[in-house]
Amino acid sequence: MSVDEPQLKRRPGKDSAPDALPSAKQDTKPATVSATACALVRNSSGYAFMAVVALSFITRYWRIWDPAQVVFDEVHFGKFASFYLRREYYFDVHPPLAKMLIALGGWLVGYDGHFLFDKIGMDYLANAVPYMMLRGWVALFGFALPPLVYMIMAESGYSVIASLLAALLVTFDNALVTQGRLILLDNIMIFFMLASVYSYVKFYKQRYRPFGLQWWTWLLSTGTMLGCVVSCKLVGLFTIALVGAAVIFDLRRILDIRRGTTIAQFNQHFVARAFALIVVPVALYLSFFYIHFAVLTRTGTGDAYHTSQFQMQLIDNPMTKSSFNVHYGDQITLRHRDTGAFLDSNPARYPLRYEDQRVSSQGQQVTGVKTLGDNSYWMVKPTKDQEEFALFVARRQAGEDIPKEELSKWVVHHTDLVQLQHVTTNSNLRTHDVASPMTSTNMEITTLPLNDTANAADTVWKVDIEGAKANTTLLKTSSSFLRLVSHKHGVAMWTHAKKLPEWGHGHQEINGNKKPAEKSTLWLITEIRGRQASAEELEEMSKKQTSLSFLEKFVELQGLMIKHNNALTSVHPFQSTPLSWPLLTRGISFWTDAAQRKQIYLLGNPVGWWLANVALLFYAAGMVVLEICDLRNIDVVDGVVRRHVMRSGGFIAFAWLIHYFPFFLMGRSLFLHHYLPASIFAYMMVATCYQFICVHPYQLFALRSWSSRARALLPSYTAGLLFAAIVAVQVAVFAYFAPVSYGTRGLTPDEVNSRRWLSSYDMHFQK
């Protein structure tokens, strides 16, 4: 990966052009080269690093207060930060670290989380949000990226000029700048990603001093950073895969008997790495979730994603607040968990014949509605002790106060067989072997008049409370999810988001699902008509708050995150395919201000990205050529150069690959900013190729670390010119696109259209 012991061994024949190496001769010509120039060369790495720091600071922090409005995904991440500060539980598909860091920034400046970032374009100043501090805090991570790139390159044995090239390309990338100065997760994630890579490079350089202090420090640092990156976004798994691959490469080397390692030593190496790179990240990942749960103790928007047990351990949750036992004779409302629709019926009938010529039962319609109405109340009736029950109902309707002991006889349990009587039409909920109107594989659900006893078996339903094991479990409102499974047919009452046509008034279709065990068959009793909690009941309930162990909570949340991440398939107008990312065929509109014709449009630096593609292709082609030459034992490049370009270059190329290609396998909706981690490695590849082409002799220019003294600066004037040209173009293009990257200046239609280098760049205000 790096040139550890650079030897000033010149390749014979290549030295014939000494003029091309002005700095190389500094020792031999002390009289003609001024001392300042010498010092400049020697300290060049430090100056270059400082320049990168300064430029990075300027590009990230320039007018960071502009625009003073909510931009793009600040909607989400700003809101989440507010939730942390309010300690209200929310749900998101990403792990918590980055969001907690954002919240930490808010907490430090005394922000109380009063603003919820509801819509793009909402004003920060009017809502008194310390947004500038939040952005400035997050931008710290974005600001750190170019210096980190410089450090990685320098540690990997590149020259000052190549390292500077990579760092400047990253500094002047529009997408990284846009993303780097807003309240978003990606910068924080990329920061930890680069920190992992930097730590690993430092660790690898200690390979001849194993188990020393430095070796352990950097190994543990790698593990810590990996833990952080994966706790920001699950994309961090790719970084873990990158380091994992490098470790396997390294272990393979150690295993070789010619290295003289014993099996015991190999085992030590193995165990140390397993501890630092597996145990430490996992422990960190878990501990961030621990903090997450420890902070978010109050009920909030995330409740509904979770099981009732989970919800009931949150402070002030509505479940424990209005959770009553259900008794026979109660008039209840049933809400479908996934779609939020209420079980409803109305006197209208199913049409005799559907559009596809299938025939219905012409029974009374049973549908799902979004708003509660009189038609949504159902009375729970037992299937035995009918007379006694009739008496009981009559007494209740008469307003008689029934003693608790007697009342407890009529509570509904798990596995009870019940009937549900529709209150307004006095008919029983029924399913039978007729195909449902729109889902022909499922059974139609309708109602049956009370006097029809011949088909009464169709109206018997088994109450199945989710998670209940014993049939003594009581059915409760607001807290127990239940299934209603037809006793005779074995189908479960189910609904989905499909709307019935005109005859069904656009209500949701409800039918009997033949796979009753599915999660989508769960319903919740939201209300008992007329039932309100008395003061003592309230007090009693608030004591009943359950508690779950951390691991239970973690496992539940982790499962939900994966499930919902895969379910993020809804079409977004600015989503894109992975293939289009390196080609940069389209950006993302982040924010617009129609009055001043301002906009923020996420777009990489087109020239930089295309140049990076060229570099990647060049490297791939170069590797193929080198391998083929190798097969025939042909020496095309010097051994040290070859080893460096293969190992360090290979590491960078693999890093790019592993942060890019897995997206092709993902089914979820994808966006351009998913390519940003990979784009940094692509920029590094430009520097690798630059080094390979321009910097000779290799050893003279190689840096040992980012703070070490350089022995030489500029390999040749052409190399310098090439460097200057690439950087100049990068800066020029960056400046050209800056108005849409920063959103600080309005553009005329002509100006917008001149920036539409590809017709697919769909910026706003084109006319």
Partner: protein, 753 residues
């Protein structure tokens, strides 16, 4: 069996000498990489000239073994094959397709034609006349000898067992293991049940097995390059590859396997300093045999497909109008030729998969909320458009002399059913392709609206005899440019969501340089009572290559459209991860009551689980042997056995991985029988591992015991599940002990809780 051992020892001694002389001078590559451990597997020098064969072909012994396997296999595949006289499982498709060949009507399907033409051949041999349609009758009529059909396709399934034996022999496994491999193939219930019906899987599996067999024969000949036997195996490989990919596209995975093998071989040759001329000969021999010949076979199958299917049929609409017009009985073959003002036209987008310009009385949910314009792939009255002159140019379409539509004319198009005009505007962008303008149907023909004006730009006239500047039916390809905005009417086969009925989006493309097919249109149908119809078949021309490419694109499109429908609650599909573990076997018919003849697609669980274990084991073995080598632990193997381990293992394991892993990337619906080609490789790998461990760890007697025990266990399990393979009529309650996993639905579905 004892002769086997002798041969192996003899061969070993011979090669041993040679090996040691090689070892004295390490190869150039090893010298170079001092820090680099030698490759996990020795790169074998090609020029030794000594063939390495542990087991030599013995005609009487091996012939007898293969005959035995064939007979046993024939019994399992043919026993009670005609039990169920109903159309079973996908027979409904393939019997129907075969009928299309007999009737010579053009149809469209996702699979290449070879296997279906073979089924049609069976139909011809059985003397069927193509009148039986499984869509209408589910029971085979008396005049249809379905037993013959099933026996014919079962022949391919029967061939699998001797092929497995021969392949293993070529891969230098000992006869015990070869026999075991043959038995494994016979004793797998899934392979068996799928061989018993008129399906494509049998030819596909047979040709896959044939490819593996011939590539392994070719591998054995690698030291006798360009010998007749070398050529024979190489050409056989090419032919098998051509046949397997003409059955189903899964065959391309077999091609990939052979391709990777060939690349490795060529690189080794290159690394061993083969002279350039030899390299060229090697390369071109493989290019011809493994690329040109398969391609030729693949294309020949399509040529035959087109020659046979020369009548108009249900698949017409998938092909371009010129192709349709040449089919006998097509409505397109007799139409007015020159388009006149007032003609009623159906316009087809030249972009594959787009369809016909369509509108209907539904509105866009967003944008202008005017009437939708879409592209629709089926004949429909809503595809009819009247071509009119622009407002202000008075014209009586019934009485005025006929006026042809010319290049550069500005025209208007009126949707005939709703009498609204094809319209576009600058104010709204298209619903999905937001860089383009929206296209709608809006306004009446009498309204003065310049947004209804479109300019004809003729792109190409295919008919040489027709006037170049006039618009003609089918033969003219043209663009429509919106006059007011300068955009081009385009349809790039982008599916609209449910509000657009999953038809394709039509936009007005602002891309000034638009040269793509998306903006090209042709008149597919033309109705004008004032213009006499002519025979289009003499005017249109199509080339085979164009049709071939187009049909393949359409096949790919239909294949990709087979996406799982979550609403359908299908019990048949299963995700790829579940296959090797046999988690979700499948009922092959819906009715599962007592008295029904029930077939259940379940593999032999013992073989499936054991073969999966073998597949997981192989890479670990590679790592283990590599690590041993790294540690300098001398191998105690027979000379060259390491080479043998790699040579056979890479084909079998690689074949399994290549025939299995790609299914994880496919978006389409997947079924358990998609695993069968991979299973074939896995079963052979299992036999290979048994052989390998037997050799390494067990004495001669114990090896025989191991083979016998495995064979007997597999037979027992096969018989245990045989009722569901051969057709079971009793009550499923009697079979409840066969439900080994809770996910199986042999006995009860997940129906009840």
């Amino acid at each position: 069996m004892t002769s086997t051992g002798n041969t192996s020892k003899g061969g070993g001694a011979q090669t041993d000498q040679h090996q040691s002389s090689d070892d004295d001078k390490p190869s150039a590559a090893q010298k170079r990489h001092k820090d680099f451990v030698a490759y996990p597997i020795i790169r074998e020098p090609v020029a030794t000239g000594i063939p390495y064969q542990l087991v030599e072909w013995n005609t009487s012994l091996d012939g007898l073994a293969m005959l035995f396997l064939t007979l046993v296999c024939a019994f399992t595949r043919l026993y009670r094959i005609g039990l169920r006289s109903n159309v079973t499982w996908d027979e409904s498709h393939f019997v129907k397709f075969s009928g299309f060949y007999l009737n010579r009507t053009f149809y469209h399907d996702v699979h290449p034609p070879l296997a279906k033409m073979l089924i049609a051949l069976a139909d011809v041999l059985a003397g069927h006349n193509g009148t039986f349609n499984p869509d209408t009758t589910k029971t085979y009529p008396d005049y249809y000898s379905y037993r013959f059909m099933r026996c014919f396709t079962a022949l391919f399934g029967i061939g699998l067992a001797p092929l497995a034996y021969l392949t293993c022999l070529q891969l230098n496994m000992r006869r015990k293991a070869c026999m075991l491999a043959g038995l494994f193939v016979i004793l797998d219930n899934a392979l068996c049940v799928m061989s018993r019906f008129v399906l494509l899987d049998e030819p596909l599996l047979f040709f896959t097995a044939a490819s593996l067999c011939s590539i392994s024969g070719f591998q054995n000949m690698r030291h006798r390059a360009f010998s007749p036997a070398w050529w024979r195996w190489l050409l056989l490989t090419g032919v098998s590859l051509g046949l397997v990919s003409s059955c189903k596209w899964v065959g391309f995975l077999t091609v990939a396997m052979v391709g990777l093998y060939t690349i490795e071989e060529l690189l080794n040759l290159f690394a061993d300093f083969a002279p350039t001329s030899a390299m060229l000969r090697h390369f071109s021999a493989r290019a011809v045999s493994l690329v040109a010949i398969p391609l030729l076979i693949y294309m020949t199958c399509f040529k035959a497909h087109f020659i046979v299917l020369n009548r108009s049929g249900p698949g017409d609409a998938t092909m371009p109008p010129a192709f349709q017009a040449r089919l006998q009985g097509s409505k397109l073959s007799n139409q007015p030729f020159t388009v006149m003002y007032g003609s009623v036209l159906d316009l087809r987008s030249m972009y594959p998969g787009s369809g016909l310009l369509h509108s209907h009385a539904h509105k866009y949910p967003s944008g202008s909320q005017q009437q939708q314009i879409t592209c629709y792939n089926h004949q429909d009255k809503n595809n009819d458009w009247v071509i009119m002159r622009r407002l202000g140019e008075e014209f009586n379409y019934t009485t005025d002399p006929l006026l042809p539509v010319r290049d550069g004319d500005i025209v208007r198009l009126m949707h005939k059913q709703t009498s609204s005009m094809l319209h576009s505007h600058r104010a709204f962008t298209a619903p999905l392709t937001t860089v383009d303008y929206e296209v709608t149907a809006y306004g009446k023909s009498s309204w003065n609206d310049t947004n209804n004006d479109w300019k004809i730009a003729i792109h190409k006239e295919e008919s040489s005899s027709a006037a170049k500047d006039e618009l003609h039916t089918i033969t003219t390809q043209f663009r429509l440019r919106h006059v007011a905005t300068g955009c081009w009417l385009s349809a790039a086969a982008v599916k609209l969501p449910s509000w657009g009925f999953r038809q394709n989006e039509v936009t007005c493309s602002r891309d000034q340089s638009s040269k793509s097919d998306a903006s090209l249109w042709a008149v597919e149908r033309h109705v004008n009572s004032r213009v006499p119809a002519v025979d289009m078949r003499s005017l249109v021309k199509t080339s085979f290559v164009q049709d071939f490419v187009r049909l393949n694109i359409e096949m790919a499109r239909s294949n990709n459209a087979l996406i799982p429908d979550r609403d359908k609650h299908n019990h048949l599909e299963s995700p790829p991860w579940s296959w090797p573990f046999l988690v979700y076997p499948m009922r092959m018919l819906g009715s599962w009551n007592k008295g029904d003849i029930k077939y259940y697609e379940i593999g032999n669980p013992l073989l499936w689980w054991a073969s999966t274990l073998a597949c997981l084991l192989f890479p670990l073995q590679l790592v283990y042997y590599y690590a041993r080598k790294s540690r300098g632990i001398a191998n105690v193997w027979a000379p060259r056995e390491e080479q043998h381990f790699w040579n056979a293992g890479k084909l079998l394991w690689g074949g399994w991985a290549l025939h299995y892993m790609p299914f994880f990337l496919m978006g389409r619906v997947t079924y358990i029988h998609h695993y069968l080609p991979a299973l074939y490789f896995a079963l052979l790998l299992l036999a290979f591992e048994v052989d390998h461990f037997g050799r390494r760890m067990l004495g001669g007697r114990l090896q025989v015991v191991l083979v016998l025990v495995l064979g007997a266990a597999a037979t027992l399990v096969f018989c245990w599940f045989a009722p569901l393979t051969f057709g079971y009529t009793g009550s499923m309650d009697d079979l409840k002990h066969r439900q080994w996993l809770p996910t199986w639905n042999i006995y009860k579905d997940k129906h009840s809780m």
